[in-house]
């Protein structure tokens, strides 16, 4: 089967820094893929390139058979890619229901404001925030804001969900709930790419794992294989320990 999204030699530099250098990868439909690597290895930049927040200097990104590397962020969102942000971003003075309604209204299955607000409630329930639907997003804790972001992303009816360290900063109970929630999304058939440092979550959720260092892919495989790769150990721990 054709992969849902493919990256062909994608590069992005900021001045002299090559944040992503010739990244090639493909994500099969219906899989949960972990994107891991040391800080500064280009994971978030890769997500920003896929979602159109940044434009690649060179290379091609093919989503669902269409080239999207020159599309604006809004077109990519409508095409079916939704994301959460590493530094959580909610619309602070809007209510939770309104935050999620925005996702529904302009996403892959656009709808009227009235319908969007109806669609929002079951999604808030799914992330455990239904009781607070009428509160302002700014009143939530950091963790709950992350939940809200996920509900907003799901409201867009994406085919591909990109999670940027969505599990970071959770306590053990919250982490367990978070992993269960992502697993349930995967069971629903959603393709998920998760940038994550929580290796337990990667092992629990991901069928495959892509390891990046210095802007390129250095290993790929099941989490056990990829993380045992000598290049990966070297990237994380340095030469002496390899």
């Amino acid at each position: 089967m054709q992969p849902l999204i493919e990256l062909h030699g994608v590069s992005k530099s900021f001045g002299g820094l090559k944040a992503v250098a010739g990244l090639t990868a493909s994500i099969p439909r219906g899989e949960v893929v972990g994107l891991v690597g040391p800080n500064g290895s280009g994971k978030t930049t890769a997500l920003n390139l896929i979602t159109g927040n940044l434009t690649a200097d060179s290379g091609a990104i093919v989503f669902d058979g269409r080239n999207i590397e020159r599309q604006g962020a809004h077109r990519i969102a409508r095409a079916g890619i939704a994301r959460t942000f590493q530094l959580v971003r909610v619309m602070p003075t809007m209510t939770l229901a309104e935050n999620v309604a925005i996702g529904a209204m302009f996403g892959a299955q656009p709808c009227s404001p009235a319908e969007a607000q109806e669609r929002a409630l079951p999604l808030l329930a799914r992330v455990g925030l239904a009781a607070r639907a009428d509160q302002r997003a700014a009143s939530l804790t950091y963790i709950d804001q992350k939940r809200l972001e996920l509900a907003r992303a799901l409201a867009a009816h994406p085919q591909l969900l990109l999670l940027d360290e969505w599990l970071a900063g959770l306590n053990p109970t919250e982490l367990k709930d978070g992993i269960a929630l992502i697993a349930s999304l995967a069971r629903d058939g959603l393709t998920i790419v998760m940038v994550e440092h929580v290796m337990d979550a990667i092992r629990a959720l991901c069928s495959r794992c892509i390891v990046m260092n210095a802007g390129t892919k250095i290993a790929e495989g099941t989490p056990a294989e990829a993380l045992a790769d000598p290049d990966v150990v070297k990237a994380y721990l340095g030469d002496d320990d390899a």
Binding site: A77, F85, R89, M91, F106, G107, A108, Q135, R136
Partner: protein, 321 residues
């Protein structure tokens, strides 16, 4: 199509607007010329401030270009008022305003925050200097007489109609997907884009609607002055007054700016009549006091009061809980 499933609550705002306009319409029959002048002034700023808040309220993009569009409208009347039949001059002004706003919007609305503010201020100055230069070079004179036969009553009714229209248009926008898109842009533009909102198109569309109203107001007001020159028509004080009026009233609600216009227009009138020499100083002090003491505007005070009452009677939970 939209109206079919509207409830009584949905009709309340349009009905209040139309009812209010109907109530105010006979005023010229009873008001003397001093009161008419004040009423026309209040209506002019009401339309300008409401139009300003249409765009700047939800998006939080502060525009100082009000004077640019207002002046364009006034100059359209000065140029075309004696060449075209009067009923055609207003649509012509609207068209010119819309075209200029589209060009300006497409070139500037990629700017964010303070850069946008500075640009709009620069734009107003640029247009003023261009008109001055063009008039001196090709017209041989800088000022123009506007002898158009529109009396005070006519201006009053046109402004009243425009005010009703801008409120109704604002109401329609607010309830549409476009209105939601603007609010999302004001909250977090990056999230808005990644949620599928074409932020550029949304911003330009409403900027154009807002600027079109401002331009028509300029065309309506020009005959009242008899004589205009660029420093009158493009006076930057117009931009600042509109901004401070909208902020005093509160740009978060459609009716908010009017709540700021009425007290300030009356205050400015009193100041100008009694302290003509120190008017600018007192204007500046007024701005400072408003920003310092009423940061969320009259609308914010009303909402606060309502929350306090609701909490006192225990009808709704504390918003922070």
């Amino acid at each position: 199509m939209i109206a079919r499933n509207w409830t009584l609550k949905d009709w309340a705002f349009p009905l209040v607007v139309l009812g209010g306009a109907a109530l105010l319409a006979p005023l010229p029959a009873v008001a003397g010329s001093y009161w008419m002048a004040l009423l026309v002034n209040i209506l002019m700023y009401s339309v300008l401030a409401t139009a300003w808040a249409l765009f700047s309220g939800p998006t939080h993009y502060v525009s100082l270009a009000t004077a640019a569009f207002f002046g364009l409208g006034a100059y359209t009347m000065a140029f075309l008022g004696e060449k075209l039949p009067l009923p055609l001059v207003y649509p012509a002004a609207a068209l010119i305003g819309a075209v200029v706003a589209t060009v300006v919007g497409l070139s500037t609305l990629r700017l964010s925050g303070v850069y946008f503010v500075i640009f709009t201020f620069g734009l107003a100055e640029l247009v003023r200097q261009l008109v001055t230069w063009g008039e001196a070079k090709f017209g041989g004179t800088v000022g123009r007489f506007v002898f158009i036969d529109v009396n005070q009553q006519g201006i009053f009714w046109m402004l009243l109609g425009l005010l009703a229209l801008v409120l109704l248009v604002g109401y329609a926008i607010q309830r549409s997907r476009l209105g939601w898109a603007l609010r999302a842009i004001g909250e977090d533009e990056t999230v808005a884009r990644h949620s599928g909102i074409d932020t550029t198109v949304s911003k330009v569309a409403v900027f154009v609607v807002s600027a079109t109203f401002m331009t028509v107001v300029g065309a309506v007001m020009a005959p009242r002055w008899t004589y205009i020159d660029p420093s009158i028509a493009f006076n930057p004080i117009i931009s600042f007054q509109v901004l401070i009026m909208a902020l005093l009233g509160g740009a978060a609600r459609l009716y908010g700016p009017i709540l700021g216009v009425v007290p300030l227009a009356i205050l400015f009138e009193i100041l100008q009549a009694n302290f003509p020499n120190s008017f600018s100083i007192l204007l500046g002090l007024t701005f400072l006091v408003i920003v310092y003491f009423v940061p969320n505007g009259v609308v914010g005070l009303i909402d606060q009061g309502r929350d306090k009452i609701a909490r006192a009677v225990g009808r709704r939970p504390h918003p922070a809980e």
